[in-house]
């Protein structure tokens, strides 16, 4: 069974929510939609206060190539446009909409029939995906049309679909593969057409045998698409790790997957592409896992973007008393929320409630030079060294030590027996080095 060769860790997977089928969350009273839900330039508002909007109506326009359109996830009246705290607690510009009814745009096909083919040409598919504001649903929220637009002189050879979901606790992709498998495969076919490749591989870790079985069965009707069961190892869902695991090709430092002929998309993105191309439905909903060790019940919700996270928590019976930390995303790469009244964004894959006795970090002690972090690093970096450079603010040396290759998977901090905040300092270095590189290229 395949996996990536370098580093990696084995956190216990806690996939309690994998049995909870997707349920549609009732509409919230009001939604808050941030203009920066994706990587790249924030979108530009095109509605004004007091405007009536319908579900699926464009409310903010993409502000460049690396940017994405934002559509109204609900129907109602634009209440205000002002900064509101996002998941980091900083206030960012956002559109507030008071929900009134559920009036969808006429162009959106809301029937449940599965259409399996599209008449659109590859170029038209890319345009449609751009129009519908599709971004990477795995969490990084990179605008999808950028990934599909293969630069001149390069050729995509293989499409890899990421169904790994290596983050502990999260099950949104798992449920999606089980319940929307057929639609997702059509989405994969559309992506293959857009990229003009004839081969697609869906990578799934073997801790999801039901998903592997289900999709393998469905794949027989889709020539060119196959399922590749993978050994369980974190962070297999990392783009470069998945490419290495499936194709054996290594993406060189500083290069993109397209340089080795691969394009990687998440299963959630493939499903969103299906909805955008076949159903003409913009990205206004996503599946969010709500789980934790002491929640009354775990759930996988289909929610409208902009729904307050508190609504999701209420729907599973409120916050358990022993909760010490609420994480946006999984426990490995996610970040603790400083406040709860923040909305679901295009990149919210899960909300994990961690009990108090597990929420705290250990007191950091001195580095004992055991080298476990280096052994765990899937990118072959030396986290202990990067951290000491970061503490000394030696950004030039950090750049030399390839800090920009770090994908912040957190394997180093997870494995450190001294409980050192390795990733915090590496991330600090990444931010600073990135700033330096940008000002250098100006």
């Amino acid at each position: 069974m395949k996996t990536f060769p370098k580093g990696g860790v084995h956190p216990s997977d806690h996939k309690q929510a994998s049995g909870s089928s997707i349920e549609v969350l009732p509409l919230p009273k009001s939604v808050c939609i941030h203009l920066s839900q994706h990587l790249g330039a924030p979108a530009e508002v095109i509605v004004a206060r007091g405007d009536m909007v319908r579900v699926g109506q464009l409310i903010a326009k993409s502000a460049g190539f690396v940017s994405a359109n934002i559509h109204s996830p609900v129907s109602g009246i634009v209440q205000k446009i002002e900064p509101a705290p996002d998941v980091t607690g900083f206030k960012k510009p956002a559109i507030f909409i008071d929900v009134q009814g559920d009036d969808w745009m006429d162009s959106i096909d809301r029937s449940a029939d599965i259409v399996k083919t599209t008449e659109l040409s590859p170029e038209e598919i890319i345009v449609r995906i751009n129009e519908m504001g599709i971004v990477g649903m795995g969490g990084a929220t990179f605008p999808s049309h950028v990934k599909i637009s293969v630069p001149k002189g390069k050729k995509a050879e293989i499409l890899i679909i990421n169904g790994v979901e290596c983050e502990p606790f999260l099950t949104s992709d798992h449920r999606l593969m089980l319940e929307r498998g057929e639609q997702m495969l059509v989405g994969v076919k559309i992506l293959m057409k857009a990229l003009q490749v004839d081969k697609a591989v869906i990578g799934i870790e073997k801790n999801k045998p039901d998903a592997i079985g289900h999709l393998t069965g469905l794949c027989s009707a889709y020539p060119g698409i196959r399922v590749e069961p993978l050994k369980v190892k974190y962070p297999q869902g990392g783009e470069k790790q998945l490419i290495k695991a499936i194709t054996g090709r290594e993406v060189p430092s500083g290069k993109l997957p397209i340089d080795v002929g691969a394009v990687v998309h998440n299963v959630g993105t493939a499903f969103a592409v299906y909805e955008a191309v076949i159903k003409n439905k913009p990205l206004i909903e996503r599946i969010v896992t709500l789980t934790g060790k002491s929640v009354k019940r775990t759930a996988n919700f289909q929610v409208r973007i902009g729904t307050p996270i508190t609504d999701l928590i209420e729907a599973v019976g409120g916050i358990p008393e022993d909760t010490g930390k609420v994480i946006n995303g999984g426990p490995m790469m996610g970040r603790a929320l400083p406040l709860l009244n923040v909305p679901v964004t295009k990149g919210t894959s899960g909300i994990v409630l961690i009990p108090e006795n597990e929420a705290n970090r250990r007191e950091p002690m001195n580095c004992i030079r055991c080298g476990r972090c280096s052994a765990a690093c899937p990118m072959g970096l030396e986290p202990y060294y990067l951290m000491s450079l970061g503490e000394a603010k030696r950004w030039d040396d950090m750049e030399q030590a390839h800090v920009m290759d770090c994908m912040e998977c957190g394997s180093c901090s997870y494995t450190c027996p001294s409980g050192r905040p390795l990733l915090d300092f590496i991330r600090l270095g990444k931010n600073s080095v990135n700033r330096i590189i940008r000002s250098r290229n100006k």
Binding site: F90, P338, F425, L428
Partner: protein
């Protein structure tokens, strides 16, 4: 015996030849440096703090020599006195600058700001700021992890354990600006040093709207404009929901501080108001 003689002769020859080579090379590739740089460097404090904006005292000296006027050159450590010496050494006119001192523009102690979150990562403000907005509702205020204290090379800053806010020790502060650079929230500012170290400043950097800001912190500038009205010298302006006092116009009359409803304008080192009378009578009694 023969070997010894040959060794001595050959080594001497090598020595003499190398000497000549070194002499000619040093003549040919001599770096001609302005001797005034050394002179200027000699009168500088030699702290290499970087407060002037140049890499160390020698870098500053070089740039002083190159600069046409000393208008934009200032060594905060040496102050006006030090700059007079530099000017003397260079024969240029010294430009007298007002001495400055660092002030921390946040009063959000735990009494005034309720904590809404708990931070549990590396103890530096820089990392905390890259992760989230802060452990209170105010996303502009002090994080209290002491990057400024660590940055200060002169022991002029300390963390007040009660308020969890940094304090500047005015006598020790040489206004090098290291803390200003270290603070990711841009709370610390260098301000004009007034007579008797008197200070009056808006101790808040929140750009939130009044109602939002007030919810998060009780000593916040709510941009009500009372200070603007109270000021007779047009020194106070409100911009982007935050008041600002123009040091050039401010006469330290303290009228703005008296009217501030939240107490976000601080007056420091002033004689106490009103209670003055009581105090004088007390001292009179003790004198008697």
């Amino acid at each position: 015996m023969n070997t010894v003689v040959i060794t001595i002769i050959s080594l001497s020859v090598i020595g003499v030849v190398s000497g000549f080579i070194l002499y000619f090379v040093s003549q040919r590739f001599r770096v001609i440096e302005d001797p005034r740089i050394d002179e200027v460097e000699a009168v500088l404090p030699g702290a290499n703090c970087g407060g002037c904006g140049y890499p160390g005292c020698r870098g500053f000296a070089e740039n002083c020599v190159k600069a046409e006027t000393l208008e934009y050159m200032f060594c905060p450590v040496g102050g006006n006195e030090g700059m007079m010496k530099v000017a003397e050494a260079l024969g240029k006119a010294a430009v007298v600058q007002d001495p400055t001192v660092a002030v921390v523009r946040c009063s959000g102690s735990p009494d005034h700001r309720t904590r809404t979150a708990r931070y549990d990562s590396a103890e530096t403000c820089e990392i905390a700021n890259s992760l989230y907005s802060g452990d209170t509702g105010c996303s502009f205020g002090c994080l209290g992890l002491g990057d400024c204290v660590k940055a200060c090379a002169y022991d002029a800053m300390r963390m007040n354990q009660e308020t969890n806010l940094p304090e500047v020790i005015d006598e020790k502060c040489i206004s090098c600006g290291a803390c200003v650079k270290a603070c990711p929230k841009k709370i610390i500012e260098l301000q004009k040093k007034n007579k008797k170290d008197r200070k009056i400043y808006i101790s808040c950097v929140s750009h939130d709207k009044g109602a939002v800001a007030k919810k998060a912190c009780s000593v916040v500038c709510i941009a009500c404009g009372a200070c603007v009205k109270a000021c007779q010298f047009d020194a106070v302006t409100v911009e982007n929901f935050l008041a600002h006092i123009d040091p050039a116009k401010c006469t330290l009359c303290r009228k703005c501080a008296a009217v501030c409803p939240t107490g976000s304008i601080l007056e420091i080192n002033f004689p106490p108001r009103k209670v003055k009378e009581v105090e004088t009578t007390e001292s009179d009694i003790s004198a008697n």
